[in-house]
Amino acid sequence: MTSTDTATRRITAAKAMAEGIALEMRRDPDVFVMGEDVGAYGGIFGSTTDLFAEFGADRVIDTPISETGFIGAGIGAAVEGLRPVVELMFIDFYGVCMDQITNHMAKIHYESGGNVTVPMVLMAATGGGYSDGAQHSQCLWGTFAHLPGIKVVVPSNPYDAKGLMISAIQDDNPVLYLFHKGAQGLVWMEKNPRSIGHVPEESFTVPIGKAAVAREGTDVTIVTLALSVQHSLDAAEQVADDGISVEVVDLRSLVPLDTETVLASVAKTGRVLVVDEDYRSFGLTGEIAAVIAEHDPTMLKKPFRRLAVPDVPIPYARVLERGILPTRDKIAACVTDLMA
């Protein structure tokens, strides 16, 4: 949905990220796009909407189902000075191309003693909530954030989707850009109003490595990302009726992680809930706990609290999937509990 009034036009996150790519492609002839169904189809989740019409098959390339092949090709093109934007259709498909990502894309700069750069964006769809089952619903940002050498960005809204994409393309490092399918504003998915928003037409950047305070508050800090930001904002509105003031910190980047913003918020409220749609153990939630504990555990008035997907594969049936996802109701319940 778009408004024709350019001063306040509202577009979906999908359109916003595609627009970011388009602006960079206009500015820099070395930028090109590769992936499955990124051409005429516009990307399965709308990530390359309208790019093919503007730039054609030479710069928006439909690849075979050969992730190791085309992600590796992206790396090679990048080391030779081009700036590829490569799409891995679902982050869950990482299994078939993980070596290229973590042993090559991530490590070449370091292994070369800083002599070789890989200015590449790897974008991928993440997230569940619509019964796509165990192999098509994962988030996995914790896995990638854990492995050194990749910047990891995760927008939660259309404005950041565009700004982070432009920053990612301009960054000389490999950037993993994860977009939540439920936050793309797609007409064929559940309507999340926060997935459509005002986005300026011109080029702008959102800094990588800087979190945003999406909502200011004084009682509880929610640290979160992606679609869970939207759910947390909804939950915050809900508990405001009960007099609870929630601050929502939208991480926006996992690597680098903006610990300063997180710690400042926790210092203010003394109560923290990390909401993460990724698996619970050995991931983001544990990382935030460690950051707080290492800095000053006495900041906390209540024990650290996390709401994440339990350590189980994502089940198919709706009742099962809802049972494990960090829903708005669960977020609100955790917040209420922290105030008890």
């Binding site: 075979p64 189902i65 299994g95 078939v96 089952g133 192999q135 098509h136 339990p310």
Partner: protein, 325 residues
């Protein structure tokens, strides 16, 4: 090789088509007013195999209980043709506790160990697994075979190539089936694959390969019979590429704008009415039989839908079960 039974081939294709048509109907029925992929009694993605019945029916006609199949994200035709229970399969698609996987797997993850049937949503990754099943059969000294099913897009994935080499090297009793339905979502074969035929690639890997045109169930039957006999006799793997037809979209909800003029003639190429015509011409199928076969299929499918929709759902806590044995 089993003897050709034309009526059986026709009946099974009709049965599968009736199933896919009914699932199509039910899948869309409750996603109104605004289409939402996660809504309704059958949520999530749905990849239907209408048009590809000849591939499943021609191959499975030679399979016995104990033979294994690994299928991709578009599995229903092979599942049904191989004897997976329609009620349990449907209950799984509806996410019910009586489903094959207690609602954990859904339509892309149908597991039926009794029939050695499984499917998965990661392209080509069923190929190595089928090699493993074939390895097990060989080590156990049975003459069972494994069938690995994937699309033409999958033949460009690394796992395809590794599997073919492994199977040829170890002389595994596996049959690699490629269903070439012309489209990998929106990408036509001409844009994805350097070879005109994967039978050529099979030769490159040291095994016989055949490409069957025209979505011809009897040609599939014949070629599959030969390949399966070969495997059972311990002579190793083969590849069958079947040029078939995707009657519907890649997934339900796919507007198929990319398909262009191809869509105009897609129903003219429907293999089932065509085969009915062939059998009528041979005097092996009457209009009465066509009607009664259709009615029988409808009855069976209706019963499966009823079974599924009246089955209990799992409870939220069940999500924590079955991570480990």
């Amino acid at each position: 090789m089993n003897p050709l039974n034309r009526l059986d081939l026709y009946k099974e294709m009709v049965r599968i088509r009736q199933y896919e048509s009914r699932i199509l109907q039910e899948y869309h029925a409750d996603k109104k007013p605004a289409w939402d992929i996660g809504a309704g009694l059958i949520p999530g993605e749905m990849h239907l195999s209408a048009g590809q019945e000849p591939a499943a029916v021609g191959v499975c006609a030679h399979l016995r209980k104990g033979d294994a199949i690994t299928a991709p994200h578009r599995p229903h035709h092979f599942a049904l043709a191989h004897g997976v229970d329609m009620n349990a399969m449907t209950a799984e698609i509806y996410g019910r506790d009586t489903g094959l996987c207690h609602g954990k797997g859904g339509h892309m993850h149908l597991f039926d160990p009794e029939n050695h049937f499984s499917c998965s949503g990661i392209i080509a990754q069923g190929y190595p697994v089928a090699c493993g099943q074939a390895l097990a059969f060989k080590r156990k000294g049975t003459d069972h075979v494994a069938v690995a099913v994937a699309g033409e897009g999958a033949a460009n994935q690394g796992a395809f190539h590794e599997s073919l080499n492994l199977a040829a090297l170890w002389k595994l009793p596996v049959i690699f089936v490629i269903e070439d339905n012309d489209w990998a979502i929106s990408v036509p074969r001409s844009h994805s694959t350097a070879n005109a035929s994967n039978a050529d690639r099979a030769a490159g890997y040291g095994m016989p390969g055949v490409r069957i045109e025209n979505n011809d169930v009897e040609a599939v039957f014949e070629a599959a019979g030969a390949a399966i006999d070969r495997a059972r006799a311990g002579e190793g793997p083969s590849l069958l590429e079947i040029h078939t037809l995707r009657l519907f979209g890649h997934f339900e909800g796919d507007a198929q704008a990319y398909r262009g003029a191809d869509l105009d003639t897609v129903h003219d190429r429907d293999p089932i009415p065509r085969y009915a015509g062939v059998l009528k011409e041979l005097g092996e199928l009457s209009d009465e039989q066509i009607a009664s076969i259709a009615a029988e299929a409808t009855t069976e499918v209706d019963a499966a839908i009823t079974f599924a929709t009246s089955s209990p759902s799992p409870t939220a806590d069940d999500a924590l079960l079955h991570v480990f044995a």
